[in-house]
């Protein structure tokens, strides 16, 4: 195992951790808005870290480019969709959680 292998393992583990955090948040948080917050962590950071980890192992720049494209796409789509869901939920009067 070379240094880049260790680094990539590190990134991948960190990514998996964010996915776990996202899932736990989705299950445990009290309302739509906080759950959205948890979901976007998994979407953006979790997948981003996994993409970085895999990009270190990629053979060609083309495949690194494709990996980054996938990440950017999920980033853009995920955040727009989250915005739309949150806005719709506010319009509909889905209650916000208060302690």
């Amino acid at each position: 195992m070379t240094l880049s292998d260790y680094l990539s393992v590190l990134f991948l583990l960190a990514g998996a951790l964010f996915f776990l955090a996202g899932t736990v948040g989705l299950l445990r948080f009290p309302d739509v808005y906080t759950r959205l917050h948890a979901l976007t962590k998994a979407d953006n950071v979790g997948l981003g870290l996994i993409v970085i980890g895999l990009a270190m192992q990629a053979e060609s720049f083309a495949s690194v480019g494709k990996l980054l494209l996938i990440w950017l796409l999920v980033l853009l789509a995920g955040s727009s969709i989250s915005h739309l869901i949150a806005k719709k939920a506010l319009q509909k009067g889905v209650r916000m959680w208060r302690r």
Binding site: L73, A77, I81, L84, K87
Partner: protein, 325 residues
């Protein structure tokens, strides 16, 4: 090595159990909307199963159609159904789903149905277990003739050369489904409100990307997973996205130009089929020297037709009548 194969089994076991569980919940949970979301999730997991079965071509098709188009179709039909119930008044809103639920509460008869089905499952399972554990099927035959087919991806070779008649009939079936829907004379839904700026931006970004990916899949299909179906369904998804964002085909294009696009795939196929027969060969048997070119032409027209048909299937009503509500 031991840990590796154990992990493989765990992953496949999890996917298999997940598929069965999702199917069960999607079919037997009381709420329709929940059932649809579960079915979408089922389609996504199905994609992973195809990948595990080493069929990336099928995974691509499943992802574009099973996960994308079927989900959008089901969601929009559900919304129309609900909107219809809502129009009839508050009392009727939940009627549909509740009736469905009441009907499932007849366990005695349903238990009787389950017995022959269980027997059938056991019989089929026994049959599968009796099969030889290793079989190569037709892969050797395909590999032998791959050089003469004009492409190097075996699945594309089968779809557009060896069994091109399947594809011919398949595009015809798509067209028939569309004719069926159009002949139902469904009233178009009321024009939607202008999209939110963020959705507008997302659409403007996604549509060119969908076009690009579609063209890429068409090109890559000759030597790697991809091809006319996948490209066509991705292109069709671009159409669905535009329809969702409130865009409609301009009326000047909704007449003849649209119809020509819809039938382009099947008519090119028929012309090629007739020409090959006139050339003294069998139906759709391409001469190896020209096979590559013929497949290229067929794939392009098939992609355009499949995309147009899928988008039109999603729209549901005839686009040239959409203004007369």
């Amino acid at each position: 090595m031991e840990a590796l194969s154990l992990l493989q089994w765990l992953i496949d076991g999890l996917i298999g159990i997940g598929l069965l569980w999702l199917a069960w919940r999607a079919l037997f949970c009381p709420e329709l909307f929940k059932a649809i979301v579960l079915f979408i999730a089922f389609g996504l997991l199905m994609t992973l199963a195809w990948v595990r079965l080493k069929a990336p071509d099928v995974a691509l098709a499943e992802v574009a159609i099973g996960a994308g188009l079927t989900g959008a179709l089901l969601l929009s039909s559900w919304a129309k159904l609900r909107g219809f119930d809502a129009n009839k008044g508050m009392g009727a809103r939940e009627k549909n789903s509740e009736q469905a639920e009441q009907k499932t509460k007849r366990p005695f008869f349903h238990g009787l149905y389950a017995i022959p089905l269980l027997l059938m499952a056991v019989g089929l399972g026994y049959g599968v277990l009796q099969l030889t554990p290793y079989a190569t099927g037709l892969s050797a035959v395909v590999a032998e003739n791959l050089d003469a087919s004009g492409v190097s991806n075996p699945v594309t070779a089968v779809l557009l050369n060896f069994r091109a008649y399947d594809t011919l009939l398949e595009i015809a079936v798509l067209l028939l489904a569309l004719i069926g829907i159009w002949s139902l004379g469904i009233r178009p839904s009321v024009r939607e409100a202008t999209p939110d700026p963020v959705l507008d931006l997302l659409t403007r970004f996604l549509t060119p990307l969908l076009l690009l990916v579609s063209a890429y899949l068409l090109w890559v299909g000759a030597h790697a997973p991809g091809g006319a179906f996948q490209a066509g369904s991705v292109l069709g998804a671009a159409g669905v996205l535009l329809i969702l964002a409130g865009w409609r085909l301009p009326l000047s294009l909704a007449g003849l130009p649209l119809r020509i696009t819809l039938v382009a795939g099947v008519s090119t196929f028929i012309v090629v089929a007739v020409l090959t027969m006139l050339g003294g060969a069998q139906l759709l048997a391409f001469p190896p020297s020209q096979a590559s070119l013929i497949i290229f032409v067929l794939e392009i027209t098939a992609t355009l037709s499949i995309a147009a048909i899928l988008a039109a299937l999603f729209l549901g009503s005839r686009p040239d009548h959409s203004e007369k509500i």
